[in-house]
């Protein structure tokens, strides 16, 4: 009895202690709600399902889609693409001129623009941004950190590597002159890309924006990279990593048409099925890249599935490094003739997909209408193989598992369709499959694959960003360096890129595209697929861009 009473006493004491502690604790932490002024003004909130966690909010140090979706709402660039098109237009620059030699760009800047921290925008801020990009030191120069600059512009102010950028001068507060070291077809378009958004110099100085450090096998970023300051229609309110949400609020001081939404929430949902269910259960108002198989059911259920113009490419790479037979043009042509691309597009790719005739879509400058076509012809394929002395061709065909890409919804099905075609033409195919991040891409980098499936999302509508990326260096995944024309093709691409005369450049690129398809054929372009984005019926004002989410603004979007 005594023991029972003691036990009960202990319990009572514990309950009292917990109750008192709770009472004391509940009073000691202040709620921090209602801190953002734009909330609750009737514009509503849109919640969008983002496919991954943005890596870093300083776009200059980013290279991933999710980061650019967010930063495109926070920042403006000097130039941009007209909504829904690939046509370049001014943004923070109301106009621009290029000198006849193509080495100097004069930007006439918009007046009355301020950053969300109150800093004024003028030519000095533009040049400070260029100086910041060009002046990266130490870890800031790493490929993994300043990827877009390194890949497209080159080196930094220390001169260790050649750089496309040369200098920026303030002519007057509303005119900045940027000089480049050589003519380039893509410099202006590059400036429309997310990493080259104009950021507040005051905030960058205060947050030590350039203080990137190497730590073991990785890099750490300074405080600024989580508190970016731009001139865009929204500003960052909170990056709630613990809840996988990024909350943006309207920038009431925006220089252009003010955003209609009060709040824009990005909810990170990695899995496509979960995104779909979240839309159906009402947790989000839209998400990007719904699986093509879901387009029709979603539309039937009353959602808007907006299909963008195709601005990507699926191709079959023909690797020349390991298989000498593939260094013969006739063998590569035989493979192209053996594949029924029309059927492939019809059965394996989303509605609206097109057969690719060359390594770029028609909306990219330099597209040629009269390239050599490879219409399905298995008899001709056998004949070419016989002429090349390879009637019993054997190839290792690599295809990726554990991945779907907008240009490649089901790698296995695409692989199967192509393999059946190749076998029908008498080619022996050995399948090799590796997980996308588990050895597939690494195998392609090492040149291990004879045939491989891969694709590309265009960043900008310039050939240099397509064929230039694929074949601009003979040391590439196709192994074009193993053929005498590999270097020649790279040189031609470089020359065309450097031509200051736009008309001549277009004609040069058309010639290159004709040559690639007729004389070189480093791979077989297969298809361009239109990526989609889905919204609830009550979401209006969204303009889909061919260049997808990194060029799409939520400024004009509203929910009713």
């Amino acid at each position: 009895m005594v023991q029972a009473r003691t036990t009960r006493g202990r319990w009572l004491a514990a309950v009292c202690l917990v109750s008192v502690a709770s009472l004391v604790l509940t009073g000691c932490v202040q709620s921090q709600r209602g801190r953002h002024p734009a909330a609750g003004r009737g514009g509503g909130t849109l919640t969008f399902g983002l496919e991954g966690q943005p890596k870093v909010f300083d776009p200059f140090y980013a290279a991933d889609g999710p980061t650019f979706v967010v930063t495109h709402q926070l920042f403006n660039n000097l130039v941009t693409f007209k909504p829904g098109t690939t046509e370049l237009t001014g943004e923070l620059a109301s106009g621009y001129e290029i000198s006849p030699d193509g080495l100097s760009y004069t930007f006439h800047l918009r007046k009355g623009v301020t950053f969300t921290d109150g800093t004024g925008f003028d030519a000095t801020t533009v040049c400070k941004n260029f100086a910041r990009w060009y002046g990266q030191t130490g870890a800031g120069q790493a490929e993994a950190v300043s990827q877009y600059w390194v890949d497209n512009v080159g080196g930094f102010s220390d001169g260790k590597m050649p750089s496309l950028y040369s200098s920026c001068a303030v002519q007057d507060p509303s005119t900045a002159i940027v000089r480049v070291s050589r003519t380039s077809s893509q410099f202006l378009e590059l400036l429309a890309e997310a990493p080259f958004a104009i950021q507040s110099p005051t905030a960058m100085d205060a947050g030590h924006a350039n203080d990137v450090r190497r730590q073991g096998g990785s890099f750490t970023f300074p405080p600024y990279s989580s508190t970016p300051v731009g001139t865009g229609p929204f500003k960052l309110f909170r990056d709630d990593v613990t809840n996988k949400t990024i909350e943006l609020v309207r920038n009431d001081g925006y220089w252009g048409d003010k955003a209609k939404l009060d709040k824009l929430v990005f909810k990170v949902i990695g899995d496509e099925t979960v995104r779909k269910q979240e839309l159906q259960s009402g947790g989000i108002d839209g998400y990007d890249l719904p699986s093509p198989a879901d387009w029709a059911p979603l539309e039937t259920d009353g959602y808007q599935v907006l299909k963008r113009p195709a601005f990507d490419l699926l191709y079959l790479g023909l690797g020349q490094k390991n298989n000498p037979a593939l260094r013969e043009l006739k063998v590569r042509q035989a493979i192209a003739y053996a594949i029924n691309r029309r059927q492939l597009v019809k059965t394996q790719l989303p509605e609206g997909a097109l057969v690719a005739t060359q390594f770029q879509p028609s909306s990219v400058d330099g597209y040629a209408n009269d390239v050599r076509a490879y219409d399905y012809d298995p008899v001709k394929a056998r004949q070419l193989l016989a002429e090349a002395g390879k009637p019993n061709l054997t190839v290792n065909f690599y295809w990726p598992s554990e991945v779907t890409r907008p240009y490649m919804p089901s790698p296995h099905d695409i692989y199967t369709a192509i393999t059946n075609d190749l076998r029908a033409a008498g080619i022996t195919v050995n399948a090799v499959t590796r997980p996308w991040n588990g050895g597939y891409l690494a195998a392609l980098d090492q040149g291990s694959a004879d045939l491989f499936l891969l694709g590309w999302f265009g960043d900008i509508p310039v050939t240099a960003n397509w064929s230039g990326q694929f074949f601009g260096d003979p040391d590439n995944r196709f192994g074009t360096g193993n053929s005498p024309w590999g270097q020649q093709l790279a040189n031609m691409l470089r020359r065309a890129d450097a031509d200051p005369d736009p008309a001549r450049r277009t004609s040069d690129y058309q010639d290159i595209n004709r040559k690639i398809m007729a004389e070189y054929l480093p791979g077989v372009p297969l298809a361009h697929s239109p990526p989609a984005i889905v919204f609830k019926k009550n979401v209006t004002g969204f303009v889909p861009s061919p260049m997808t989410s990194s060029e799409e603004s939520y400024g004009p979007v509203s929910v009713s």
Binding site: S31, Q32, A144, S218, V274, N437, A442, D473, R477
Partner: protein
């Protein structure tokens, strides 16, 4: 007791050291790597080589391991490469740990709160309808794969009926963050809607995660109670004229709890494994979700830390279980 605890802690350190080497070698032996994950289609062979060298991945493995170990011993496990690049992995862990703790505590509480009473009652009414039904129920819940149950729960309660949230920890309701434990934060700041919202988000994942431990705890409790209730000391207690309630509590349940406590400990550890699937399906930003993402992106530093921490938690729970024997059974204490 102190010496025993210290010896166990010493053993744990050795195990962790060996484990760290194993994980390191194993992770680096996996095909692919962070370079492909970071560069994707964009990579050119040259860019891939440059990045490999910049990340130090071209160094001999033992050099990389020694560098990692020295740095880890000073508490620095490096920065994440893929999941949240640039953020120290210890910070990533701390940001996500509360989510997993909230989820596993809810799941294990649910499993214990339902499993033990049901097991006890089923044993006391052996062969009855309740016993039969609960055995069938426990068989089903252990047999259904966690991810399937999770999908099923989501589909029914979130997508079709719309009564519970589909995924995540909380809606964007501007809740104040204090400790990272959302329920606790809501209580501390008196944001009661935030508490309710977090609890709603916990219901489905907690049920999915609790299914297996519930079933195991139920069955062990039932078996243990069946064993104990025929023991001589129970009959002695009955013949002494003690009431049914006192016999149940003090003699049957208490003695039956020994194997149950072990089971709870093991199950709590195993929940971490279940959490990987459950958190992925419910997009619940905890350790399991980070682990899955880490594997996808070959985030070596993050994976190394998370697996080591999982091992520590597993060992710590077992140590606590072993020590708790002393509290439940005085004979262990005496020994």
């Amino acid at each position: 007791m102190l010496r025993y605890t210290l010896r166990r802690l010493g053993q744990m350190t050795l195990v962790l050291l060996a484990l760290s080497l194993l994980i390191f070698v194993w992770l680096h032996a996996l095909p692919g790597g962070p370079v492909s994950a970071l560069l994707g289609e964009r990579a050119t062979p040259e860019a891939a080589r440059t990045l490999t060298s910049q990340l130090g991945l071209d160094q001999p493995l033992y050099v990389q391991y020694v560098r990692f170990l020295l740095s880890a011993l000073s508490g620095n496990f490096g920065a994440s490469i893929g999941v949240q690049p640039g953020i120290p992995v210890t910070q990533v862990f701390l940001e996500r740990f509360p989510a997993t703790v909230e989820l596993t505590v809810c799941a294990i509480t649910l499993a214990v709160a339902v499993g033990i009473p049901l097991g006890y009652v089923a044993a006391r009414r052996r062969g009855g309808l309740l016993d039969t039904l609960s055995i069938i129920g426990s068989l089903i819940s252990v047999a259904i794969p966690v991810f399937f149950l999770a999908f099923l729960l989501k589909y029914v309660f979130a997508v079709k009926l719309g009564v519970l949230p589909n995924s995540g920890r909380q809606d964007a309701i501007d809740a104040t963050r204090v400790t990272g434990f959302f329920v606790l934060d809501g209580i501390l700041t008196q944001e009661w809607d935030a508490v309710l919202n977090s609890l709603e988000h916990l219901v489905l994942p907690a049920i999915a995660l609790a299914a297996v431990p519930f079933s195991v705890i139920f069955r062990i409790t039932r078996a243990a109670v069946l064993d104990v209730q025929d023991e001589n000391y129970v009959r002695t207690a009955e013949s002494k004229g003690l009431t049914g309630a006192v016999i149940s509590r003090r003699h049957v349940l208490r003695n039956a709890m020994l194997p149950v406590a072990t089971t709870i400990g093991l199950q709590a550890g195993a929940l971490l494994a279940g959490a990987v699937l459950t958190e992925r399906v419910f997009n619940f930003p905890g350790i399991g979700d980070a682990l899955a993402l880490g594997f996808q992106q070959r985030d070596y530093p993050l994976l190394e830390l998370l697996i080591l921490v999982a091992a520590v938690v597993y060992m710590a729970i077992n140590l606590v279980v072993d020590l708790s024997y002393g509290m439940i059974d005085p004979r262990v204490r005496a020994g």
